[in-house]
C-alpha cells in the first residue's frame, strides 16, 4: 500500500516533468526538419558546465545565472534556445574528471550547439580535448590559465587538441593569468607599497600558474620574493606555514589558488597569529562573494583576516551598461550579480550572435549548425557586441579585451570593493 502510494506520486511527478519539458524541447526532430524559415522554431540548447554545488556554488551559480538571463533576454529568430545544466563539483569541489564526463554528455546531445564553462582551469584542461573531438564550441567565462590557449611553460596548446589540432573549439572571455599575475604584482608593489613578498600556491594548474607569474613580475617591478611555497589543497592546518612566514617578515602575502583549497583558512590562521596587518592578495579564485556568502573566502577568513586583503578578476568591471544588467539580474534572481555573471552573459551573447549569423546558411541540420557555430566563433575576424563591450577572439581563442579589475576588502560593506581596472593592452605593466 505504502509502495503503491509512492509509485503513484512518482507517476504524477513524471507526468508533470514531461509536461514541463514538452513545452520546451520535445518536438526537436520535427522542428529541425521544418527549418528556421518555416513557422516552428528549431530547439537547440546551450550547455552550462560549471561547479554548481558545495563550496564552489558561489562561483558557479551567479555565472550560470548570467547565462540564463542572456537566454531570457536575447532571442534569435527561428530558434528556441534552452539550457542543459551540468555540475562539475564532486563533494563540493570542482573535479576535472567530472567536467570531462559532463562535456561528453553535452557532446552526445545533438541539440547542444554551444557550451558555457568551465570555471576552473584544470577542468578546462580536461574538457578541451573532449570538445575538440566533438567539434563543440565552448566559451569559458572564467578560465585564466594561459596554457589552455597559447604556448605556456614550453607546452603547446595543440596537445589539448589531439583530434583536430587546427580546429579551435574553445574560447574564453576572461583574460589570462599572465596578466592577472601581473595585476597582483601591480597591487602588491604599487598599491600596497610592498617590497618583499611571501608567495604560495595550492599546487593546482590555476594557482601555481598565477603564483609563478606574480613572483616573476613582482621581482621585475623591483620587489623581493622572500619565499616561494606550495601547499597541497587538502591542507587544513596551515599554522606551521604561517609561523614560518613570520621569519621571512614579508610586506605582502600572495596566494595563488581557489578558496576550496583552504586559502581562507590560511588567512584566518594568519589573523590568529596576529598577522592580519600584512596585506594579502589573491586572484579571482578568492573573489567569490561577500563575507555573508556561504563558504566564500571572506567568510572563512573572518572579520580579522579580511582586513588588508586584495583580489583581482580577469574581466572588466566597468562594463558599458552596468545598471541594466544589475537591475535585470536582481529582478530575476533577487541578488546582485557575481564576479563572472557578466562574463557568463557575454559568452552566451557570443553564441547567440554566432547562431544568428550562421542560421541562414547552415539550414536546420543540428550537426551542420554545431559545426557552423564552432567555425564562426573560431574565426578571428568576427567580433561581438556584448555586455562586456565589443571584443573578438584572437587565433588562439583568447579575448582581445585585456582588462583586469582590482578589488580590496571594504569593512563597511564586508565585501570586495572595486578599486580600479587596468587595460593591459593600452597600459602594459612593463
Amino acid at each position: 500500500m505504502k509502495y503503491a502510494r509512492v509509485g503513484a506520486s512518482l507517476a504524477v511527478i513524471a507526468v508533470v516533468a514531461s509536461a514541463c519539458s514538452g513545452s520546451t524541447a520535445s518536438p526537436a526532430a520535427s522542428a529541425a526538419a521544418s527549418g528556421a524559415a518555416g513557422g516552428a522554431a528549431i530547439n537547440v540548447k546551450v550547455g552550462i558546465e560549471l561547479p554548481m554545488s558545495g563550496g564552489e556554488a558561489p562561483n558557479g551559480v551567479p555565472t550560470a545565472n548570467g547565462v540564463a538571463l542572456a537566454i531570457d533576454q536575447v532571442k534569435v529568430p527561428g530558434f528556441n534556445v534552452t539550457i542543459s545544466q551540468q555540475d562539475d563539483a564532486v563533494n563540493g569541489v570542482h573535479n576535472p574528471q567530472q567536467g570531462a564526463k559532463n562535456m561528453q554528455t553535452l557532446a552526445n546531445d545533438p541539440t547542444v550547439l554551444f557550451v558555457v564553462g568551465p570555471f576552473n582551469s584544470n577542468v578546462g584542461q580536461a574538457e578541451i580535448p573532449v570538445g575538440n573531438a566533438a567539434g563543440l564550441m565552448q566559451c569559458s567565462p572564467a578560465n585564466t590559465y594561459p596554457g589552455l590557449t597559447k604556448e605556456w611553460g614550453g607546452v603547446s596548446p595543440t596537445t589539448l587538441r589531439p583530434t583536430h589540432p587546427d580546429k579551435i573549439a574553445y574560447v574564453r572571455v576572461a583574460t589570462t593569468d599572465d596578466l592577472q599575475g601581473a595585476a597582483g604584482a601591480d597591487i602588491a608593489f604599487n598599491i600596497a607599497k610592498a617590497k618583499t613578498a611571501y608567495v604560495a600556491d595550492d599546487t593546482q594548474t590555476y594557482g601555481k600558474g598565477l603564483a609563478d607569474v606574480f613572483a616573476t613580475d613582482f621581482a621585475k617591478l623591483g620587489g623581493t620574493v622572500a619565499k616561494r611555497d606550495s601547499i597541497p589543497g587538502s591542507t587544513t592546518d596551515f599554522t606551521s606555514y604561517v609561523t614560518a612566514l613570520k621569519s621571512f617578515n614579508p610586506d605582502y602575502v600572495y596566494y595563488g589558488g581557489v578558496t576550496t583549497s583552504g586559502i581562507g583558512l590560511f588567512r584566518k590562521q594568519m589573523a590568529q597569529q596576529g598577522l592580519q596587518t600584512i596585506p594579502f592578495g589573491g586572484g579571482d579564485g578568492i573573489s567569490d562573494g561577500s563575507a555573508a556568502t556561504k563558504s566564500s573566502f571572506l567568510q572563512i577568513a573572518g572579520p580579522a583576516g579580511d582586513q588588508n586583503t586584495y583580489s583581482t578578476v580577469a574581466a572588466t568591471h566597468d562594463i558599458p551598461n552596468p545598471g541594466a544588467l544589475q537591475a535585470a539580474y536582481k529582478a530575476k534572481f533577487g541578488t546582485d550579480p557575481g564576479a563572472y555573471s557578466a562574463a557568463g552573459y557575454a559568452c552566451t551573447q557570443v553564441f547567440l550572435q554566432a547562431l544568428q549569423a550562421v542560421a541562414a546558411s547552415a539550414g536546420s541540420d543540428l550537426a551542420t549548425l554545431r559545426e557552423a557555430v564552432r567555425a564562426y566563433v573560431a574565426d578571428p575576424s568576427h567580433s561581438y557586441d556584448t555586455v562586456l563591450g565589443k571584443f573578438s577572439f584572437d587565433a588562439n581563442g583568447d579575448t582581445t579585451q585585456h582588462i583586469i579589475s582590482y578589488y580590496g576588502y571594504d569593512a563597511t560593506t564586508q565585501d570586495w570593493k572595486f578599486l580600479q581596472q587596468r587595460d593591459f593592452t593600452a597600459k602594459p605593466l612593463f
Binding site: 563533494n91 597541497p232 592546518d237 606551521s240 614560518a244 590568529q272 556561504k294 572563512i300
Partner: protein, 343 residues
C-alpha cells in the same frame, strides 16, 4: 607478548614502559632541535604547532587502534565520526548563540565542559549505533565484509551531513579567546595549551581506564581472546559496544577541538583526518593505544618539519614514506602490537 601469568592490571609497570618514556623524551628533544634549526627563530612556536596538530591526530588514532585491537576491524568510518563530531559541536555552539570568543572565564569553562560532554556523548552513542547495526551482524563474517561495510558507513555519514546539514564549509565559533600566555620562557596561545593539555588528560584517563578498571580489564581480555573472555563471564557485546563508545567519544572530542582551533568544518573533513590518524595508528602499532598516541604526534611533527624546511608540498609523501619504512623494518609498528596492553 605479556606472560599469561602476569596480573593484567599491572602490565603497565614493566620495564618496557620506561624505555618508551625515555625514547619519547629523546625523540621530542631531537624533534625540537630539527625544527629549531630550520625554523629561523620560530622553533618554539613550530614545536607547539606540531604538538597541537599531533594531539588532534592522536585523539582520532586512538579510536582506530581500540577498535582494531578488540575486533580486528579497520573502522574506515572513524574519520567521519570525527567529522560528525565537529558538526555536533558547531551545531551546539551556534544554537546556543555564540559567535566569537567568550571572555568570561567561568562561562567559557562551563560552555567548554558542556560542549565536550555533549559532543563526546553524542558521538559515543553514534559509534555504538554504528557498531550495533553495521558491524555486529558481521562479526563472524569473513574479514573483508565488515571492512567494506565500514567504507559504506563512511559514505553514509558524509552524505548525511552533506545533504542534511551543509554541502559547504561551515564556520564554527572560536570561543577560546586568542590570547598568548607566557609561562616562563614559553609563549603559547591559550587554544594550543588547551588542546595539548586536553589530549594528554584524555589519553591518561584512557590508560587508567584500560589498565585499572574492571571494564578496562574486560576490554583487554576480549582483545586477547574473545572466546576465553566470554567463558570467564565477560559480556562481549557490552565490552565491544563500550570500546566503540570510548573510541568514538574521543573522535568527538577531536571534532570539538577541530572547530575551536580551525574555526571551520566541512563534510569531507573526515577523509584526510581519518587517513592520517589511521596512518598514525599503524605507525605506532595498531591495537596499541600508546602507539596510536605516539603515531599521532609523529605525524604532526613530520608535517610541521616538512613545512618548516619548505617541503610542505611533500608532506603527504613524507608521512606515507615514513609509514612504509616503519612497516618494512617493523611490520607491527614502532611499539608493536603489545597484546596485553592493546584495548
Amino acid at each position: 607478548m605479556t606472560p599469561a601469568t602476569a596480573p593484567l592490571g599491572r602490565v603497565r609497570l614493566s620495564a618496557g614502559r620506561w624505555n618508551v618514556a625515555v625514547g619519547t623524551i629523546a625523540a621530542l628533544v631531537a624533534a625540537y632541535v630539527i625544527i629549531d634549526l630550520g625554523a629561523g627563530g620560530e622553533g618554539q612556536a613550530q614545536f607547539i604547532n606540531a604538538l597541537t596538530i599531533g594531539a588532534i591526530y592522536a585523539l582520532i588514532a586512538l579510536g582506530y587502534t581500540m577498535v582494531y585491537g578488540i575486533i580486528e576491524l579497520i573502522n574506515f568510518a572513524h574519520g567521519d565520526v570525527f567529522m560528525v563530531g565537529s558538526f555536533v559541536s558547531w551545531w551546539l555552539l551556534t544554537t546556543l548563540g555564540f559567535n566569537g570568543a567568550i571572555t568570561d572565564p567561568l562561562l567559557l569553562g562551563v560552555v567548554l565542559a558542556v560542549g565536550f560532554v555533549f559532543s563526546m556523548g553524542v558521538m559515543g552513542i553514534v559509534g555504538m549505533v554504528i557498531e550495533r547495526f553495521a558491524y555486529r551482524p558481521l562479526r563472524s563474517a569473513p574479514r573483508l565484509a565488515p571492512l567494506i561495510t565500514a567504507i559504506g558507513v563512511s559514505f553514509i555519514l558524509q552524505n548525511l551531513v552533506q545533504v542534511g546539514v551543509s554541502n559547504s564549509i561551515v564556520t564554527t565559533p572560536q570561543i577560546i579567546p586568542n590570547t598568548t600566555l607566557h609561562i616562563g620562557p614559553i609563549s603559547i596561545s591559550a587554544i594550543n595549551l588547551f588542546i595539548i593539555v586536553l589530549a594528554v588528560v584524555l589519553m591518561a584517563a584512557l590508560q587508567l581506564f584500560i589498565g585499572r578498571t574492571r571494564l578496562g580489564r574486560a576490554m583487554r581480555s576480549t582483545a586477547i581472546d574473545r572466546d576465553a573472555a566470554q567463558l570467564m563471564g565477560v559480556d562481549i557485546n557490552t565490552t565491544i559496544a563500550l570500546t566503540f563508545f570510548i573510541g568514538s567519544g574521543l573522535a568527538g572530542a577531536a571534532g570539538v577541538v577541530q572547530g575551536l582551533y580551525f574555526g571551520v568544518s566541512v563534510f569531507t573533513l573526515g577523509f584526510y583526518a581519518g587517513l592520517f590518524a589511521f596512518t598514525a595508528a599503524v605507525l605506532g602499532g595498531i591495537g596499541n593505544t600508546t602507539g596510536a598516541a605516539l603515531g599521532g604526534f609523529i605525524i604532526g611533527f613530520i608535517q610541521v618539519i616538512a613545512a618548516v624546511y619548505g617541503y610542505g608540498v611533500w608532506s603527504e609523501v613524507v608521512v606515507f614514506t615514513a609509514l612504509v619504512l616503519v612497516l618494512v623494518f617493523r611490520p607491527t609498528g614502532i611499539l608493536g602490537q603489545q597484546l596485553g596492553e592493546r584495548a
